[in-house]
Symmetry: D2
Subunit: 268 residues, 4 copies
């Protein structure tokens, strides 16, 4: 029943200066609203739709930028790890290691992440039923690491579309782990723009409110200064200057949920 | 931006006394919370899973019971009409005529409903995209009747399951008509209990909160004194004695949405 | 293990002369290939996407045209019945009564159809699991009429799309009733053309072959002289002049299935 | 229009002797039927549902067993590669490298596979539209390697279920690459058995016939001496002693498709 944490940042580290400016802007907003922030940016986008898509700065340069964000703004950092070989380097810099949704069944990756002892954010695959994330949890927990977050990011619904089943937030919370709602990836239209995924930024507000009212522990947003010119996921990213108003509203729904009790139907 | 209206009552008119008691209970609750109520009960369940399922009292006796509810508790009444031949009798008693979701494309039924001049609640078929409800709207509006409500009640998601796509509430509201969220039918598992539909009452609270936070004009709940022994839709109906606490909570989310402004992402 | 029956004809009875020409063309083709034919055309399209769509000639004129086809070409006739009030008039002319997919759960319609004593073709709703068609079968069979055919016509798959689950043909055949595959409605894209459904004629051949190889008792095709100018379902209708070559091929797959034994995996 | 190739073998290399016996059995069957065979077994199952599931013998021992199958029975060998670090060792032994469906968007893996110069079998992810596999193809082809096969293995359909959209076989063949239908993974029920995926072996015959009639270049079956006691994917594996009768039947449908011409609907 703690206030939700915002996990936010640009999809990819496009360059150092831009990444620092977005981190600074998010830090100001969340500080003014009294909301905890974890900064997220990817150093490598390993599963872009097209082979010619921008992928980021790579492991070494990318982790250096994230380290600078961490030091300069005193922010915890999360980023996704796609390969066992990068786990140690990533764990040395990151505060939370994130498992990409497509890789949520890759046993070696989950076990390697668990073995770092760091908190792990496990994203539920677009092909997984909410109750089946339990098996991914068990893979991580087999290392003795129970510090696990679970993220909903939409489930396959026909072709080139995802749907958010709000029941999944309830089901995953009942497993006893903090649940994050990734609003900006949930409005992606996979492959919907031909050579890249399209997105529906206009529904991020509605789905974020809905998730906060359902009950979540964290909310994830991709944020960019100029989403229409972002090198990655621009169609579903939020413009930095609109974050404050939207977050303020979401926090009201979060408070209403957490103060009011759930009022869910019981069996007495 | 008016407070949401509750549409509630038992799935079917099982008998007159029970129906009156549920109406009385709902009237007390909504009066105490300052919430508008429309009473709903079906006089005939024409599309139950099984031929041996209970169907209700039939048109004549059923409408008489609804008329008594209307007179005794001064409540507006809504019920579903499955056949053109019943339209006039139904329109003489009911304040709102409801088009069942499976029948949402039946042109004659929609036109006949429109021609009564009464408000029409058009339920979106489980097989329809939210933008396609526009064609049903046009069928009704072709009669000159623009007094139309649109209801979301879940969309087919694989076999024996429905999912609520909260984006549909936004899409249908942008068409300019009031939007109702039917929470109790949205948690049905069609055919999930063999000879009848099963349901997941435990998610009604979460989905109702989510819909209120997304933005709705009406909320629909099936309510029964003793859902586990109801003759119809018991598995997804709410127990009467739990309605007040849950509704109170939902109204807070509704107020938060309507006072706060939507805060949705704009294109400036 | 009898050869499959072709059910074919134009979507709607546009006019008498055209309908007779299509019937004559289909009769010639099926006679030359030794394939049984049931002629199908709708006298009223009661659930078109738009209120301004062409609906057909209506019950009286439409049934007269079908009667003329029956007499002139000695063909059995099938057509769909949307309303209990039309059942007797339809049963007086038609050899097989068809229940539209959207109406496959409407108890009164199924019972009234069953009571005519005529063979009933029950189309599986786009929202139904294959095992749940059993409940519709029981509604018809409650009248003592067990002369029932079951038709697969695709299942909802996200928005504006259907998918054919070939497992459903096996599941429905195991219920003991003849199974028809409706290839041309299965390639509809519901609502996909804005004010009407679009379609993918180019997949009718592949899906028909696949269904014949899976094992079916009947195959349904909408056929028109000039599909691109048809008043109904043109996008998914087959051109009459291409029917012979395609049907000849399908009959080879049908024969391969029925002569070869199913070769399915057993549990010995 | 060449006869289809059978790709078959046990899900995992459980032990050397069993693997050799299955290879020998499959070689005899396919030789007697004049069908080309590629032997498939996994040396490591990297994405089993549960962390305690059997994974196979590992890279080194597993590749040695596959090498022995290759030498002893003069069979081409295919196996799946989950990690860039295993690519060179795998390419030294295998004739075809297979990209697992969950990993079908992982750019580095596809590029590394392409760079080996070996034929690549790219499995379409359960979350991908058929037209979106083109992006995976481009990733491989960016290395200059155009020797690519595409495999259909079902697409997500609600929770714990897959559906085969036979249109995808047509769409992928039109891209100009040979298309394989993986019948035994297509009947998996992901997560359907709690701690593991369940399966529906009884539909492998029907779906394989349907795919052959639709038009394919290869057919994939998991085969085991005793599927009910297999350490991996037993519920959807075929018993070795039933392979001959089923394959013989499938080859008839394949021949009917390839001799007869497709007979598909054209636009003239």
């Amino acid at each position: 029943s703690k206030q939700l944490v915002l996990i936010a940042g640009p999809c990819a580290i496009e360059d150092e200066a831009l990444t620092l400016r977005i981190a600074e802007g998010l830090k100001e907003i969340t500080t003014s609203l009294g909301c905890e922030l974890i900064f997220k940016a990817s150093y490598d986008k390993a599963n872009r739709t097209s082979v010619t898509s921008f992928r980021g700065l790579g492991v070494d340069r990318g982790l250096r930028v994230l380290e600078r964000v961490s030091n300069e703004f005193e922010l915890p950092i999360i980023s996704d790890v796609h390969d066992v070989s990068q786990m140690d380097a990533a764990a040395a810099v990151l505060d939370v290691l994130q498992i990409p949704a497509f890789l949520s069944r890759q046993t070696d990756l989950l076990v390697a992440a668990g073995q770092t002892g760091k908190p792990i954010n496990l994203k539920k695959g677009q092909f997984l039923a909410p109750w089946d994330i339990q098996h991914g949890v068990s893979k991580i927990a087999s290392t003795g690491n129970e510090n696990i977050l679970l993220t909903e990011r939409g489930v396959s619904f026909g072709y080139n579309n995802l749907v958010v089943d709000m029941r999944s937030l309830v089901i995953m919370r009942e497993m006893g782990y903090p649940v994050v709602f990734d609003a900006t990836h949930s409005v992606q239209l996979p492959g919907g723009a031909g050579g890249s995924s399209s997105g529906q930024r206009q529904y991020v507000g509605a789905l974020s409110r809905a998730a906060a009212a359902t009950g979540i522990d964290g909310l994830f947003w991709e944020v960019h200064e100029d989403p229409d010119h972002a090198l990655c996921d621009g169609a579903n990213s939020l413009p930095l200057k609109q974050v404050k108003a939207l977050l303020q509203q979401i926090l009201e729904f979060d408070a209403a949920f957490k103060q009011g009790g759930q009022g869910d139907i019981s069996d007495d």
